[in-house]
Assembly symmetry: D2
Homo-oligomer: 92 residues x 4
Amino acid sequence: MASSYEKHKGNILVRLKRIEGQLRGIQRMVEEDKYCVDILTQLSSVIAASEKVGLIVLRDHIQGCVRDAVIRENGEASVQELIDVVERFLKS
Amino acid sequence: MASSYEKHKGNILVRLKRIEGQLRGIQRMVEEDKYCVDILTQLSSVIAASEKVGLIVLRDHIQGCVRDAVIRENGEASVQELIDVVERFLKS
Amino acid sequence: MASSYEKHKGNILVRLKRIEGQLRGIQRMVEEDKYCVDILTQLSSVIAASEKVGLIVLRDHIQGCVRDAVIRENGEASVQELIDVVERFLKS
Amino acid sequence: MASSYEKHKGNILVRLKRIEGQLRGIQRMVEEDKYCVDILTQLSSVIAASEKVGLIVLRDHIQGCVRDAVIRENGEASVQELIDVVERFLKS
Protein backbone atom coordinates (compact mmCIF):
# COMPACT_ATOMS: atom_id res chain seq x y z
CA MET A 1 0.00 0.00 0.00
CA ALA A 2 1.32 3.46 -0.85
CA SER A 3 1.41 5.84 2.11
CA SER A 4 -1.28 8.52 2.24
CA TYR A 5 1.37 11.27 2.29
CA GLU A 6 2.96 10.11 -0.98
CA LYS A 7 2.30 13.38 -2.81
CA HIS A 8 3.81 15.50 0.01
CA LYS A 9 6.78 13.23 0.63
CA GLY A 10 9.35 15.67 -0.81
CA ASN A 11 7.91 18.58 1.15
CA ILE A 12 7.83 16.55 4.37
CA LEU A 13 11.42 15.36 3.95
CA VAL A 14 12.70 18.89 3.31
CA ARG A 15 10.95 20.08 6.49
CA LEU A 16 12.33 17.20 8.59
CA LYS A 17 15.84 17.79 7.27
CA ARG A 18 15.53 21.46 8.20
CA ILE A 19 14.37 20.61 11.74
CA GLU A 20 17.33 18.22 12.06
CA GLY A 21 19.59 21.13 11.07
CA GLN A 22 17.96 23.37 13.67
CA LEU A 23 18.63 20.73 16.31
CA ARG A 24 22.29 20.57 15.37
CA GLY A 25 22.36 24.37 15.60
CA ILE A 26 20.88 24.25 19.11
CA GLN A 27 23.53 21.73 20.18
CA ARG A 28 26.21 24.12 18.94
CA MET A 29 24.58 26.97 20.85
CA VAL A 30 24.60 24.93 24.07
CA GLU A 31 28.25 23.93 23.56
CA GLU A 32 29.13 27.61 23.12
CA ASP A 33 27.15 28.64 26.24
CA LYS A 34 24.75 30.81 24.27
CA TYR A 35 22.03 32.74 26.13
CA CYS A 36 19.20 30.57 27.55
CA VAL A 37 16.41 32.63 25.99
CA ASP A 38 17.90 32.22 22.50
CA ILE A 39 18.01 28.46 23.03
CA LEU A 40 14.40 28.44 24.25
CA THR A 41 13.36 30.42 21.19
CA GLN A 42 15.04 27.89 18.90
CA LEU A 43 13.35 25.02 20.75
CA SER A 44 9.95 26.71 20.31
CA SER A 45 10.71 26.90 16.62
CA VAL A 46 11.58 23.16 16.48
CA ILE A 47 8.29 22.34 18.22
CA ALA A 48 6.21 24.57 15.92
CA ALA A 49 7.92 23.11 12.83
CA SER A 50 7.36 19.53 14.05
CA GLU A 51 3.67 20.29 14.64
CA LYS A 52 3.44 21.71 11.13
CA VAL A 53 4.83 18.46 9.66
CA GLY A 54 2.41 16.54 11.87
CA LEU A 55 -0.54 18.49 10.47
CA ILE A 56 0.55 17.75 6.88
CA VAL A 57 0.80 14.02 7.63
CA LEU A 58 -2.50 14.14 9.57
CA ARG A 59 -4.33 15.80 6.69
CA ASP A 60 -3.06 13.23 4.20
CA HIS A 61 -3.88 10.45 6.65
CA ILE A 62 -7.50 11.57 7.01
CA GLN A 63 -7.96 12.14 3.28
CA GLY A 64 -6.27 8.82 2.51
CA CYS A 65 -6.23 5.99 5.04
CA VAL A 66 -9.22 7.09 7.12
CA ARG A 67 -11.42 7.87 4.09
CA ASP A 68 -10.52 4.51 2.52
CA ALA A 69 -11.26 2.61 5.71
CA VAL A 70 -14.62 4.35 6.12
CA ILE A 71 -15.65 3.54 2.54
CA ARG A 72 -14.27 0.00 2.58
CA GLU A 73 -15.38 -1.29 5.92
CA ASN A 74 -17.10 1.30 8.07
CA GLY A 75 -13.78 2.48 9.53
CA GLU A 76 -14.58 2.06 13.22
CA ALA A 77 -11.01 1.02 14.11
CA SER A 78 -9.46 3.64 11.85
CA VAL A 79 -11.51 6.45 13.40
CA GLN A 80 -10.60 5.25 16.90
CA GLU A 81 -6.91 5.24 15.97
CA LEU A 82 -7.24 8.74 14.52
CA ILE A 83 -8.81 10.09 17.72
CA ASP A 84 -6.02 8.50 19.75
CA VAL A 85 -3.31 10.09 17.64
CA VAL A 86 -4.99 13.52 17.76
CA GLU A 87 -5.27 13.20 21.54
CA ARG A 88 -1.58 12.24 21.83
CA PHE A 89 -0.71 15.22 19.66
CA LEU A 90 -2.85 17.57 21.76
CA LYS A 91 -1.10 16.38 24.91
CA SER A 92 2.44 16.67 23.53
CA MET B 1 29.34 35.07 31.83
CA ALA B 2 28.77 31.35 32.24
CA SER B 3 25.38 30.15 30.97
CA SER B 4 22.77 29.34 33.61
CA TYR B 5 22.46 25.77 32.32
CA GLU B 6 26.17 25.02 32.82
CA LYS B 7 25.60 22.18 35.28
CA HIS B 8 23.03 20.45 33.00
CA LYS B 9 24.99 20.98 29.79
CA GLY B 10 25.90 17.29 29.37
CA ASN B 11 22.34 16.16 30.05
CA ILE B 12 20.91 18.74 27.63
CA LEU B 13 23.36 17.78 24.87
CA VAL B 14 22.57 14.07 25.26
CA ARG B 15 18.85 14.83 24.96
CA LEU B 16 19.31 17.06 21.90
CA LYS B 17 21.49 14.43 20.22
CA ARG B 18 18.77 11.84 20.88
CA ILE B 19 16.06 14.08 19.37
CA GLU B 20 18.29 14.61 16.34
CA GLY B 21 18.51 10.83 16.01
CA GLN B 22 14.72 10.51 16.27
CA LEU B 23 14.35 13.05 13.46
CA ARG B 24 16.69 11.04 11.25
CA GLY B 25 14.60 7.99 12.07
CA ILE B 26 11.41 9.78 11.03
CA GLN B 27 13.00 10.78 7.73
CA ARG B 28 13.85 7.12 7.11
CA MET B 29 10.27 6.12 7.94
CA VAL B 30 8.91 8.66 5.44
CA GLU B 31 11.34 7.48 2.75
CA GLU B 32 10.18 3.91 3.34
CA ASP B 33 6.46 4.91 3.23
CA LYS B 34 5.83 3.84 6.80
CA TYR B 35 2.31 4.14 8.22
CA CYS B 36 1.13 7.74 8.90
CA VAL B 37 0.08 7.05 12.48
CA ASP B 38 3.53 5.69 13.37
CA ILE B 39 5.10 8.85 11.96
CA LEU B 40 2.67 11.03 13.91
CA THR B 41 3.53 9.11 17.07
CA GLN B 42 7.25 9.71 16.51
CA LEU B 43 6.60 13.42 15.88
CA SER B 44 4.65 13.65 19.17
CA SER B 45 7.64 12.11 20.86
CA VAL B 46 10.03 14.68 19.30
CA ILE B 47 7.76 17.49 20.49
CA ALA B 48 7.49 16.11 24.04
CA ALA B 49 11.27 15.60 24.21
CA SER B 50 11.94 19.15 22.95
CA GLU B 51 9.56 20.55 25.54
CA LYS B 52 11.38 18.56 28.22
CA VAL B 53 14.72 20.11 27.19
CA GLY B 54 13.03 23.51 27.16
CA LEU B 55 11.80 23.03 30.72
CA ILE B 56 15.33 22.12 31.88
CA VAL B 57 16.79 25.25 30.24
CA LEU B 58 13.89 27.34 31.57
CA ARG B 59 14.42 26.16 35.13
CA ASP B 60 18.14 26.94 35.01
CA HIS B 61 17.39 30.27 33.38
CA ILE B 62 15.03 31.32 36.17
CA GLN B 63 17.29 30.08 38.93
CA GLY B 64 20.31 31.68 37.22
CA CYS B 65 19.88 34.67 34.92
CA VAL B 66 16.50 35.84 36.20
CA ARG B 67 17.45 35.49 39.88
CA ASP B 68 20.71 37.39 39.29
CA ALA B 69 18.93 40.17 37.43
CA VAL B 70 16.30 40.50 40.15
CA ILE B 71 18.90 40.70 42.93
CA ARG B 72 21.30 42.94 40.98
CA GLU B 73 18.95 45.44 39.48
CA ASN B 74 15.30 44.69 40.14
CA GLY B 75 15.05 42.52 37.02
CA GLU B 76 12.07 44.20 35.37
CA ALA B 77 13.44 43.57 31.84
CA SER B 78 14.53 40.05 32.67
CA VAL B 79 11.09 39.12 34.04
CA GLN B 80 9.41 40.61 30.97
CA GLU B 81 11.68 38.57 28.70
CA LEU B 82 10.93 35.44 30.73
CA ILE B 83 7.19 35.90 30.35
CA ASP B 84 7.56 36.41 26.61
CA VAL B 85 9.57 33.20 26.24
CA VAL B 86 7.08 31.21 28.35
CA GLU B 87 4.21 32.58 26.24
CA ARG B 88 6.01 31.64 23.01
CA PHE B 89 6.59 28.17 24.46
CA LEU B 90 2.94 27.73 25.46
CA LYS B 91 1.79 28.78 22.01
CA SER B 92 4.20 26.47 20.11
CA MET C 1 -30.53 16.09 10.84
CA ALA C 2 -29.72 14.69 14.27
CA SER C 3 -26.36 15.79 15.64
CA SER C 4 -23.55 13.20 15.57
CA TYR C 5 -23.07 13.49 19.34
CA GLU C 6 -26.70 12.56 20.11
CA LYS C 7 -25.81 9.46 22.14
CA HIS C 8 -23.26 11.36 24.30
CA LYS C 9 -25.42 14.45 24.75
CA GLY C 10 -26.11 13.81 28.45
CA ASN C 11 -22.45 13.10 29.20
CA ILE C 12 -21.33 16.22 27.30
CA LEU C 13 -23.85 18.45 29.10
CA VAL C 14 -22.80 17.15 32.51
CA ARG C 15 -19.16 17.88 31.67
CA LEU C 16 -19.92 21.39 30.40
CA LYS C 17 -21.99 22.16 33.49
CA ARG C 18 -19.09 21.01 35.65
CA ILE C 19 -16.62 23.25 33.78
CA GLU C 20 -19.03 26.16 34.19
CA GLY C 21 -19.00 25.46 37.94
CA GLN C 22 -15.19 25.36 37.97
CA LEU C 23 -15.15 28.77 36.29
CA ARG C 24 -17.44 30.20 38.92
CA GLY C 25 -15.12 28.73 41.54
CA ILE C 26 -12.11 30.43 39.93
CA GLN C 27 -13.93 33.78 39.96
CA ARG C 28 -14.56 33.33 43.67
CA MET C 29 -10.87 32.49 44.20
CA VAL C 30 -9.83 35.67 42.39
CA GLU C 31 -12.29 37.78 44.37
CA GLU C 32 -10.86 36.33 47.59
CA ASP C 33 -7.24 36.98 46.45
CA LYS C 34 -6.35 33.31 46.50
CA TYR C 35 -2.81 32.26 45.64
CA CYS C 36 -1.84 32.63 41.94
CA VAL C 37 -0.57 29.08 41.58
CA ASP C 38 -3.86 27.63 42.82
CA ILE C 39 -5.72 29.72 40.24
CA LEU C 40 -3.35 28.58 37.49
CA THR C 41 -3.91 24.97 38.54
CA GLN C 42 -7.68 25.43 38.28
CA LEU C 43 -7.32 27.07 34.85
CA SER C 44 -5.21 24.11 33.65
CA SER C 45 -8.00 21.86 34.82
CA VAL C 46 -10.64 23.89 32.90
CA ILE C 47 -8.50 23.65 29.76
CA ALA C 48 -7.96 19.89 30.12
CA ALA C 49 -11.69 19.32 30.75
CA SER C 50 -12.66 21.45 27.72
CA GLU C 51 -10.25 19.48 25.54
CA LYS C 52 -11.79 16.27 26.82
CA VAL C 53 -15.27 17.44 25.78
CA GLY C 54 -13.82 18.50 22.44
CA LEU C 55 -12.38 15.02 21.88
CA ILE C 56 -15.77 13.41 22.60
CA VAL C 57 -17.51 15.73 20.12
CA LEU C 58 -14.69 15.22 17.60
CA ARG C 59 -14.96 11.45 17.81
CA ASP C 60 -18.71 11.51 17.27
CA HIS C 61 -18.28 14.03 14.46
CA ILE C 62 -15.83 11.80 12.58
CA GLN C 63 -17.88 8.66 13.14
CA GLY C 64 -21.08 10.51 12.20
CA CYS C 65 -20.98 13.56 9.94
CA VAL C 66 -17.62 12.87 8.29
CA ARG C 67 -18.36 9.18 7.70
CA ASP C 68 -21.75 10.02 6.19
CA ALA C 69 -20.28 12.69 3.93
CA VAL C 70 -17.52 10.35 2.74
CA ILE C 71 -19.98 7.56 1.94
CA ARG C 72 -22.62 9.86 0.42
CA GLU C 73 -20.54 12.14 -1.72
CA ASN C 74 -16.82 11.55 -1.34
CA GLY C 75 -16.60 13.99 1.58
CA GLU C 76 -13.81 16.22 0.29
CA ALA C 77 -15.32 19.36 1.90
CA SER C 78 -16.13 17.52 5.12
CA VAL C 79 -12.57 16.19 5.45
CA GLN C 80 -11.15 19.65 4.78
CA GLU C 81 -13.41 21.13 7.47
CA LEU C 82 -12.34 18.39 9.88
CA ILE C 83 -8.66 19.14 9.36
CA ASP C 84 -9.27 22.85 9.91
CA VAL C 85 -11.06 22.22 13.19
CA VAL C 86 -8.35 19.82 14.40
CA GLU C 87 -5.68 22.41 13.51
CA ARG C 88 -7.58 25.14 15.39
CA PHE C 89 -7.85 22.77 18.35
CA LEU C 90 -4.14 21.95 18.31
CA LYS C 91 -3.23 25.62 18.18
CA SER C 92 -5.57 26.66 21.04
CA MET D 1 -0.60 39.16 51.74
CA ALA D 2 -2.17 40.82 48.71
CA SER D 3 -2.31 38.60 45.63
CA SER D 4 0.19 39.40 42.85
CA TYR D 5 -2.63 39.91 40.35
CA GLU D 6 -4.29 42.65 42.43
CA LYS D 7 -3.98 45.32 39.74
CA HIS D 8 -5.48 43.07 37.02
CA LYS D 9 -8.25 41.67 39.20
CA GLY D 10 -11.05 43.51 37.38
CA ASN D 11 -9.72 42.51 33.96
CA ILE D 12 -9.33 38.87 35.04
CA LEU D 13 -12.85 38.72 36.49
CA VAL D 14 -14.39 40.19 33.33
CA ARG D 15 -12.58 37.58 31.24
CA LEU D 16 -13.65 34.70 33.50
CA LYS D 17 -17.25 35.90 33.48
CA ARG D 18 -17.14 35.99 29.67
CA ILE D 19 -15.76 32.44 29.47
CA GLU D 20 -18.51 31.30 31.83
CA GLY D 21 -21.02 32.87 29.44
CA GLN D 22 -19.41 31.08 26.48
CA LEU D 23 -19.78 27.80 28.35
CA ARG D 24 -23.45 28.41 28.93
CA GLY D 25 -23.76 29.20 25.22
CA ILE D 26 -22.11 25.89 24.31
CA GLN D 27 -24.51 24.01 26.57
CA ARG D 28 -27.41 25.65 24.74
CA MET D 29 -25.88 24.69 21.40
CA VAL D 30 -25.59 21.07 22.51
CA GLU D 31 -29.18 21.02 23.79
CA GLU D 32 -30.34 22.38 20.40
CA ASP D 33 -28.26 19.79 18.47
CA LYS D 34 -26.12 22.43 16.81
CA TYR D 35 -23.45 21.35 14.32
CA CYS D 36 -20.40 19.60 15.87
CA VAL D 37 -17.84 21.83 14.18
CA ASP D 38 -19.48 24.97 15.57
CA ILE D 39 -19.32 23.46 19.04
CA LEU D 40 -15.66 22.52 18.57
CA THR D 41 -14.91 26.07 17.43
CA GLN D 42 -16.54 27.47 20.58
CA LEU D 43 -14.57 25.02 22.75
CA SER D 44 -11.31 26.14 21.08
CA SER D 45 -12.27 29.68 21.92
CA VAL D 46 -12.90 28.77 25.59
CA ILE D 47 -9.48 27.10 25.73
CA ALA D 48 -7.67 30.04 24.12
CA ALA D 49 -9.45 32.51 26.45
CA SER D 50 -8.58 30.41 29.53
CA GLU D 51 -4.92 30.30 28.45
CA LYS D 52 -4.96 34.06 28.02
CA VAL D 53 -6.21 34.52 31.61
CA GLY D 54 -3.54 32.04 32.73
CA LEU D 55 -0.81 34.11 31.10
CA ILE D 56 -2.04 37.27 32.82
CA VAL D 57 -1.99 35.55 36.23
CA LEU D 58 1.38 33.94 35.42
CA ARG D 59 2.95 37.27 34.50
CA ASP D 60 1.73 38.89 37.71
CA HIS D 61 2.86 35.86 39.68
CA ILE D 62 6.41 36.07 38.32
CA GLN D 63 6.63 39.84 38.77
CA GLY D 64 5.13 39.56 42.23
CA CYS D 65 5.43 36.37 44.29
CA VAL D 66 8.44 34.88 42.50
CA ARG D 67 10.42 38.14 42.46
CA ASP D 68 9.68 38.69 46.16
CA ALA D 69 10.70 35.15 47.09
CA VAL D 70 13.95 35.48 45.14
CA ILE D 71 14.86 38.77 46.83
CA ARG D 72 13.72 37.67 50.30
CA GLU D 73 15.10 34.21 50.58
CA ASN D 74 16.72 32.93 47.42
CA GLY D 75 13.41 31.65 46.05
CA GLU D 76 14.44 28.04 45.39
CA ALA D 77 10.99 26.66 46.34
CA SER D 78 9.15 29.41 44.53
CA VAL D 79 11.09 28.82 41.29
CA GLN D 80 10.44 25.09 41.56
CA GLU D 81 6.73 25.71 41.99
CA LEU D 82 6.74 28.08 39.01
CA ILE D 83 8.37 25.48 36.78
CA ASP D 84 5.81 22.90 37.89
CA VAL D 85 2.89 25.18 37.07
CA VAL D 86 4.34 26.08 33.66
CA GLU D 87 4.83 22.38 32.94
CA ARG D 88 1.24 21.60 33.95
CA PHE D 89 0.06 24.43 31.72
CA LEU D 90 2.15 23.19 28.79
CA LYS D 91 0.66 19.73 29.17
CA SER D 92 -2.95 20.88 29.42
